[in-house]
Amino acid sequence: MKRQIAVILSIILVFAGFDFSVYNLFTKRYINSTSRQMQAKSIELDKYLPFDKNSEVVRVDTDFKLTENLPVIDGAAALYPVFSGFVNAVYPEDSVIFDGENFAPESSLHYTNTLRAYKAVVDGEADIVVCAEPSEAQLAYADEQGIELEFLPIGKEAFVFIVNNENPVSDLTVEQIRGIYSGKYTNWSQVGGDRTIIDPVQRIEGSGSQSVMVSFMDGTPMKKNPFGFMGRAIGFSFRYYVSGIVDNGGVKMLSVNGVYPDKENISSGKYPITVDFYAVYRKDNTNPNVELMLDWILSDDGQEIVEKSGYIPVE
């Protein structure tokens, strides 16, 4: 009898121990701290919805207004507040149709994020997309379709690296970051931290930040650490997305080469990793309002929206 009870208890303990380990090592790390809408779309669309008095979209008075042949605008999650601000300033209110979750196909404002926005502009479903640089696959898709894309720089943003708030490391050099992502450094103690494994996290192919990261690595292939789940992670994103949109208290941005990515250091060029973001459009687009809209985006009013949305205007 005692032996039987011991066997039963042992089996229960084995299962409980295994499940407890799985939960602590994996499950609890993946629990999303953002809202359901954020999880589905990377951003809360209604927070920056045009023409909504409760939204935080940047409002700028401008004399330039479009009433017909409205270019359809789409773009990246991190840049949604910018292109939503453009629409708010220039387009008529009835041009935006939002169903509470996403924009209707007939709306002049779309949001499909970088992955699909590049496809949308190539396919003619969007006239202007506001995004960071494209991936090779996105350029190849345009080539395959025989479409030439134009890239107009309309603002600048810092590309930032983030770690957990409790990570003692607050500064890395460009060489150290490249070393971490290439597999040269696998432990935080090699770059000034504690003796913990480094987990270099990447995003999916084709996302805006992943494309920028590939450029940043300058041809060096990136490696994942198979034991990374046992250590502390490092990730990357755009500054405003981390500090402005997501506003997540659990992470911190790293200084790079001793320079913190704040607005002053980005404007002055001290922060070493800044990237342009673009208004991307098809060269063969025949809608005359596309060019007018692009000219306006580069005007003082358009650039005011870029700046008030938290980004750096172009020179």
């Binding site: 089996i11 994996f26 993946y30 629990i31 983030i162 996290v201 990357f236 981390v242 659990g250």
Partner: protein, 45 residues
């Protein structure tokens, strides 16, 4: 405890254990697909 009852209890415990582990692993894969880098790092990753 008879052998028959002991075996029944063992089978029930094994089934419950296997199902709960499968659900936990499935849920973890689901979360992995939907978790952002920022949440992952904020959670202690």
């Amino acid at each position: 405890m008879s052998d028959k009852l002991f075996h029944k209890i063992l089978i029930i415990i094994l089934i419950i254990g296997a199902v709960s582990t499968a659900v936990l692993v499935g849920y973890t894969f689901y979360l992995h697909e939907h978790c952002s880098i920022i949440s992952y790092i904020a959670n202690g990753g």
